[in-house]
Amino acid sequence: MDPQASLSGRVFDKAGAGLRHLRRLNQLTLGWLARAGRTLHFAAMMLSLAMSPSTYRRDNRDAIAKQLVTGLGANLLWFTVLCALVSVVLIRIVVVTALGYGLSKFALEMVVRVLVLELIPITAAVFVALRCTLPDGVELAEMRRRGELQSLQGQAIEPMQREVLPRVMAGVFSVLMLVAVSCVMSLGLAYLNIYGFTPWGFGGYTRVVGQVFSPAVSIILVMKTLAFSLAVSLIPMASAVYDSVDNVLQGRSKAARELASMVRLFSVILLLEVASLMFNYY
């Protein structure tokens, strides 16, 4: 066998492998960009539908109310109780440690920063995602697979307004509600832990809270919570609405698809948290 021919053959093989790798990378990037584009498109569509008066017709309103109440009713109590327990433990740890180091005047500020600004929003987002929006996304995908959405269209009912938007709104509202309730509760628990049942610490407490919640920090908290709520609500629904059924046919199981959607969602939540930390502390 000609050695030159074998050498050129190996070179061509390597070049072919590299090219396949590049092609695969290109496909992945294109797929990621397409998904991001579809999610953005879905977000814009949801926003326009939310702004549309026809969405708030009585029948749609019922659907929205049902999703809001069922989505939040199951989570609000449990999350509040769990959050209260964790908050009390964390506040106690911070206060006792700060006292031990003679830094008690920084305890309240640290509690507010750690709990209210950082932990509670991300915990609430993850809680709503796991308990509400990811199952809703799966349910929606199943409905789509069964053709229920198409049958709704056949009944002159817009499925986006009747089935998708209420779930998205319920997700957004759940995150906002849980964050609001838990933050207020944690602030109250922090006051009680540090000062006890007395009104005389209210002035100093208010002053410290005012110092922590500067306009920039407040805006970042609001933006972060909104971004979390939108990510948690939109990504699973967008996956359910846009992911093609071909994926399943190509060998991806339903569970793997749900897991991929969850990982995507948590990656976005992590990125948002990192971005908020950068804005807050740099």
Partner: protein
């Protein structure tokens, strides 16, 4: 709207109940968010009537917007803005709530304290609370107390101290040599010669001194015997002392005799005194006599001169013309 009558009544009740609950939840969230916003605005002092105070310092390091100005440990104001003045100084613009402004007087002092640990602190001190109140927009200079600025000096002093200690404790230092000497001294003190060996330095000298001491002891013993003998000879029954006593008695007799002799001499002296008085008178008479003789001699001299003038015996007489 046509679909609504087709729905069963239970479903209508259900949907109205759900809508009510949803409305309640929305209301709760609006209340929570609205209440939080109002509380934060209150905490940030949005609803408080304030007056301005400008604090000027060389350096605004450690001062941040929102920091408290404390008076007796109580916050009476907060930093609302920090800017650079045309002179290059840091201007901290404080918002002082009107209800707390009476603690600040025209004579108040404002300090900026930077500790080694913890945040920077702005403090106000009002010594005389009856002074006029601080006017709105007043500018005051901050007195800066910086603990960290003292660190380089402290480090330099510590370094010097450590170098001195190092020099003191070095192998060839004076302290080391002194300690070596002390060790030698204590070794000698514990040695054969003891303290004497330590003082004299050499064992030969120590032995010499000890020999000298022994000899001095034997000498003292001899002196002791000698003294005993001398005592016997001096104060004994036939000693010198007894002879001395007899001699003293004799001397006393001799003295009394001498006293009698002296009295006699005294009488002779009185006589001699009278004789000398007489001689003195005689001497006075001799003076008169001498005066007479002198006058007689003067007269004789005058007489001779007269004779010479009248009878010239001088052979080479020379006549001198006027």
């Amino acid at each position: 709207m046509n679909e609504t009558p087709a729905e069963p009544p239970v479903a209508v009740n259900d949907s109205s109940g759900l809508q009510f609950k949803a409305a309640l939840l929305l209301l709760l969230m609006i209340l929570l968010v609205g209440g939080s916003i109002v509380y934060l605005m209150y905490a940030r002092g949005v609803f408080e009537a304030t007056q301005k105070l400008v604090l000027v310092a060389d350096d605004s390091e450690g001062v941040v917007v929102g920091m408290d100005l404390t008076f007796s440990g109580f916050p009476v104001g907060r930093v609302s803005q920090i800017e650079l003045s045309p002179e290059g100084n840091a201007r901290m613009i404080m918002e002082i709530p009107r209800r707390d402004a009476h603690w600040l007087r025209t004579t108040s002092i404002f300090t900026l304290e930077r500790g080694l640990v913890g945040s920077t602190r702005l403090r106000a001190y009002s010594g005389i609370l009856t002074d006029p109140a601080l006017e709105d927009g007043a500018a005051r200079t901050l007195l800066v107390g910086d603990a960290s600025a003292e660190i380089p000096k402290l480090v330099a002093s510590a370094k010097e101290l450590i170098q001195n200690l190092k020099a003191l404790t070095a192998a060839d230092s004076s302290l080391d040599a002194s300690l070596g000497n002390v060790k030698t001294l204590t070794d000698k003190l514990n040695g054969k010669g003891g303290a004497l060996g330590a003082i004299l330095g050499d064992e030969k000298h120590t032995e010499k001194l000890l020999t000298a001491l022994d000899r001095a002891n034997s000498l003292l013993a001899k002196v002791d015997g000698l003294a005993a003998k001398a005592d016997t000879q001096v104060f004994g029954p036939s000693g010198l002392m007894k002879d001395a006593q007899a001699t003293v008695v004799q001397l006393s007799g001799l003295l009394s005799e001498a006293r009698v002799s002296l009295k006699k001499v005294d009488a002779i002296l009185i006589d001699a005194q009278s004789i000398s008085a007489n001689a003195k008178e005689s001497t006075a008479d001799l003076g008169v006599l001498r005066a007479d003789v002198e006058s007689s001699l003067r007269k004789v001299d005058h007489l001779i001169n007269e004779i010479n003038r009248k009878w010239p015996f001088k052979r080479d007489a020379e006549l001198k013309l006027p």
